[in-house]
Amino acid sequence: MIRLFRLLCVLFICVCTQLVCRDVLLEFKGAYNFFTNHHVRKIYGTGGGLYGPEVTFQILEDDNWYGFASADFLKEKGHSSGMCEPTTLYMVPLALGAKYFVPFNRCDFYVGLGFQPLHVKTVNCIANTIQRTSKWGFGGIAKTGAYFDLPRDFFIDVFADYSFVKVGGSPCCGTTVPVKSVMNSVAIGAGLGYRFD
């Protein structure tokens, strides 16, 4: 899982540097990811730390439209609801979409919308044996935030994202019953980046 995440990070960075565009912003961000679905919250708590790189790149002549791509990672421990057996969630949300910037005096406010594939892996302890599941889900992401320019082409990104993704059930093992999980979440955080003009 972590290897996948690292590979995607490198891939995104490599792709981004090849883009022929006027403005490329590369940042590394961290956020607290609040789960909104009560089943997920019951198992893993309110949420956990989400971190990863994001590249934002100008795609049109218009200065206000940018594209973005990101890859994040979250690991959270929890307990099953019912028997309180240990379970660990590994989540890699990817995103690809567009942002629209509205510049202000000291910052550039933006809103964005994108497509979000999400990879979910769980490691579960059932009756003292380890059982793993791995599943992809697909959904979307809505973004809002603001960039604050710093000297020497650095910037700070303060943001709030809302992800809406469903992941299908996984039979796991034995006679377990697959159930869909709603992985909707709100991520609030900040990133530190560098602008390549």
Partner: protein, 456 residues
Amino acid sequence: MVKKFSSYFFLGLVCAVHSMYAAPANTVVATINVGVTPAGLALTSNNLVAYVANNNNYGITNGDNVSVLNLTNNTLTTTINDASFSQPYTVTLSKDGTKAYVTNSFGTTITIINTATNTVIGTITGFNGPSGMVITPDGNTAYVNNYGADGASGTGTTVSVVNLNTNTITATITVGLAPAALAITPDGKFVYTVNYVLGATGGGTANIIQTSTNTVVGPTITGFSGPFAIVITSNGTFAYVTNFGSNNFTPIGTTVSVVDLSTNTITATINLDIQPAGIAITPDGKYAYATNYNSLYSSTGSDFDLAPGQGTVNIIDMATNTVIPPIIAVGQSPGNVAISPDGEFAYISNYTSGTVSVIALQSFQIVAQGSQIRNRFLNFIDVVNQLTWTVTGTSLPVSYSIYRDAGLTELAGMVSATGPLTFADHYVTTGVTYTYYIVGTNAAGTTSEPVVVTIG
């Protein structure tokens, strides 16, 4: 003629460490060879030793003696012989455990044994075929029923009061004909004697002796049929009397009478097998174990033509006064029973077989329940059948086995008693009925009757 028997048991304080074995509760785990026609038996308070009076009904030379058993490994330690023995019938231990009193039913004495050395240290004289003995809680006074000595067996009509500090008879109380057995209330205020009379159906009686005045008080309780033994519950509310029937083996008895001691009337009659004889109550007061002598004369009818059937032990649920399974097969002509203070074992003297059967008892009770839980993970649900249980009693289990079948062959899992008493069966299917059988095993190796839990 086979004499009647009485059974006594002595409640002690400390458990013994028993030999390890593994056996279901209410099964015979050992058989000990003792003397000729063993009758009454008594257990020391630490449950390490048993004394068995060998009645020697066949008149074998040197057959009148007392067997001393090691209950740690269920073996015969020694045999006490003494000229004072004359068809020894019952053994009663003093309150401090230092002496064993042996009633000599063929004669007029009680033999005193020093339990530290297992030697005879004296006799008490003046009886008439003494056939039972109880001791007051303070240990100073004993009451002895006089059934009638040799040549006059069954004609006695008295109970002797004995000062155990001076070993002398201090009073003689007139009761019914042929007092067969005695029991004393836990507070020591009353002694109940059951009187065989003539062994006719309904002809047996019981008298109540007030120990403060040594007089018979209250009504004569009637309705017994050849009463053989009596035991009083630890709370003093009920007495259980075995109805052996006639010593001539016709009519035979088949019941146990329950006497309400607040009204001194028979309030219940429990059907057992042929010739209920000895009876004892478990320390928790929940069960009574009664022996069925089941020995009738053959067609020739002489003393030595006793045709014993299968001796058995019935278990009485005292909450409902009903017989519950199993019926335990023991030796031939089981006449007496004693239960260990920790409630782990019952000891049965088998008159015809010349043995003592050791029965493992279930001293604990398991109460269990089950539920089905939907154990939800992120993207699947594991349906789990969860069993939880509690246990009460003594000599509690050290481990529990959970089976899926009534034959107890398909083990689902084991749970240690050191952890929570719960078991989870994962990956079950909703809509399917599952049945589990929980069996507890204590340190002595006794396994309980399975507790059945059904889920689904």
